[in-house]
Amino acid sequence: MIAFLQQIVSGSAVGIVYALVALGFVMVHKATQVFNFAQGELMMLGAFVAYTFIVLFGLPFWLGGVIAIASVALFGAALDRILLRRMVGTKPFTIFMLTVGIGFCIRSIVMLVPIWGTETYSLPSPLQGKVFSLGGLIISADHAVILLTAALVTAALFAFFQFTRLGLAMRAISQNSLAASYLGVRVDSLFSIVWALSAAAAALAGVMLAPLSFVHSDMGQIGLKAIPAAVLGGFDSLPGALVGGLIIGIVEALAGFYLPEGVKDVAAYIVLLVVLAVKPRGLFGHADVKKV
């Protein structure tokens, strides 16, 4: 039983990282119908900026993290304003390829920056190495912080979307941006805010992942794991992204422990196929119905 719970805890922590990246995918797609393939690279950028402020400039971890999240959020908004807004009206595939290109560019630029480059860096958290023991269950402090932070972020996002005017406006544009604009909602500005929030979620994932997996230019590959999480949850559901990420993380951990060698790497995709066979729109997805 202890071993089972151990895998649940470890899998949840990794799953939360997938979930945060998936959250960014879903936020942008829900509002703008754009699939942002550069989400993983935004996560990587967040980790590098955090490394720079925390390790190179010596700032406290929390402050460096906040600066990283804020600066990558601004970068996300700038991507929308400067590049993506010009692509309104073009084919979705074109915009998708643009985001693929943006991802490659971010990675290449990171490799060219002299203080970053192609090396791997350690970004230790203040709680690095500390563990709690709970009746035989070993929980690392880093994992506990990831789970707690995710719970707080989820609550904050829920409150934002439910109880603020801005959140209401964003829900409106995600349902019908044309109708929202007729009602006076500034759709363009809100798109930039969505991109900023999505980039912030990715950067937060990067800051939380960095102490566990180090900071390096290949970190963006996590984005590929986050896509099944978003699809599993339903590509237009924010809570679905979180649940999807958790499921992927936990399934991988349990498969890695209990099932034969090699199954861990495909377990999450098998679960995804099974879920989509039963619920094609994902666990929390729903069909859009437009009434004229």
């Binding site: 002299p114 203080i115 190495g129 070993i138 566990l212 991988e252 422990f257």
Partner: protein, 396 residues
């Protein structure tokens, strides 16, 4: 007196033309000097400079370039300067094939030095050899480079299974380990390490009691280590790469499991210690190349690392730099010993005379012969003591 008939004139011209051609081609056959002119030796190298193993390709290039710069600044090799053409494979075999074809067929390079990646070397080696260029010291520890022997191919890197076999044999015979487990990357390099471990264990009449793999880029190893701990191994042999090895050592520390760990060459580097911190203490490893920290204070190494640091913001080079620097210097020494008449055949004959040639720059001494084109089959045995790699032996 020469006939002035049309037939005779034609014959005369034909003989003159053939004479010129023969003179030119005979000269070419005599020197066999592809890629060599009076002033220059032309080399090629296909590296990953932007893809998934750019973290190795970029420092390899830096090492090669520093060695070339030093040789050219000292007047070149027997009056010839070295020029190298790099091509970025992005670790894509298709791009590597096209680049290699261009370098060997169009640019007609004398040799490819430091070609990077097992998959890349596997597909480009036939092109290089068929094109008449030498394949020298690729960064690809695969057996096919030297087994069966190919006249134009030389390497300093035996396949990973060779080192893994030596390591597992040491663990069995010297450390007395009997319950072996393996933690390895689920790709060719990891499978090679696993093969070497199994070869050693088969000879000893034991089997692996548990193995756990991961895909490249994995970030969580809690399930793998939980399984290995449950199997109660007395040693875990790693076939992992730097980042994943360091993360795995942190996981081992987190679950409070003090099992002995013996890592393969890619993980026996200073970077793993830098990333894993105290979790790396006591780790054993095998590596043909000594870690940077072990050689950085040598009198011959200091100026090289200082020159690197001056142009790289005070940093020490990446461990992969040593491969580029040493392999290029090995080529330079062989070309120098060949002398002014630098042809492919003369170069091969010279290199095959090398016996225990030691550059004293962290690399194992090189010995080649007409029947052995792999420069060293031994490996350093290392251990992390007080946060630093220390050599505790040599495995042969």
């Amino acid at each position: 007196m020469m006939s002035r008939t049309p037939g005779a004139r034609f014959a005369t011209r034909l003989i003159l033309l053939l004479g010129l051609l023969c003179g030119g081609t005979c000269q070419a056959f005599a020197t066999d000097a592809q890629g060599v002119t009076k002033d220059e030796i032309l080399l090629g190298s296909v590296l990953d400079l932007s893809g998934p193993v750019a973290s190795i390709g970029v420092p390899v290039r830096e090492g090669q370039d520093m060695a070339i710069q030093a040789a050219n600044d000292a007047g070149g090799i027997n009056g010839r300067k070295i020029r190298i053409i790099y091509s970025d494979s992005g670790y894509d075999p298709k791009k590597a094939i096209i680049a290699t074809q261009k370098l060997t067929n169009d640019d007609r390079v004398f040799a490819f030095v430091g070609q990077l990646g097992a998959a890349i070397v596997h597909v480009t080696m036939p092109i290089i050899i068929n094109g008449g260029s030498l394949l020298l010291f690729p960064n690809a520890p695969i057996e096919e480079v030297y087994e069966p022997l190919k006249p134009l191919a030389f390497t300093m890197q035996p396949a990973y299974n060779v080192q893994a076999r030596l390591a597992a044999t040491y663990a069995y015979n010297t450390l007395g380990k009997r319950k072996f487990c393996a933690f390895y990357q689920d790709d060719d390099s990891g499978e090679q390490v696993l093969r070497g471990i199994n070869e050693a264990l088969d000879s000893a009449g034991v089997k692996l009691i548990e193995k756990a793999s991961y895909k490249r880029g994995a970030t969580d190893f809690s399930s793998q280590f939980a399984r290995l701990k449950q199997a109660d191994c007395d040693i875990v042999m790693f076939g992992a790469v730097v980042r994943e090895a360091a993360a795995a050592m942190l996981e081992r520390q987190k679950i409070g499991w003090n099992v002995d760990v013996l890592v393969s060459q890619p993980s026996a580097t200073d970077t793993v210690i830098r990333l894993a911190g105290s979790a790396a203490e006591g780790m054993l490893g095998v590596n043909q190349m000594l870690p940077l920290d072990m050689i950085k204070d040598q009198p011959n190494v200091v100026p090289v690392f200082k020159a690197y640091a001056d142009s790289h913001g005070g940093k020490l080079p990446d461990p992969a730099f040593l491969y580029g620097y040493n392999f290029m210097n090995l080529f330079i020494e062989a070309a120098r010993r060949t002398g002014p008449d630098l042809t492919t055949q003369n170069f091969i004959k010279t290199l095959e005379q090398f016996r225990d040639f030691d550059l004293n720059f962290g690399m194992a001494p090189a010995s080649f012969s007409a029947t052995q084109h792999v420069g060293s089959l031994s490996t350093n045995l290392l251990k992390v003591v007080n946060g630093q790699w220390t050599r505790i032996g040599v495995l042969k």
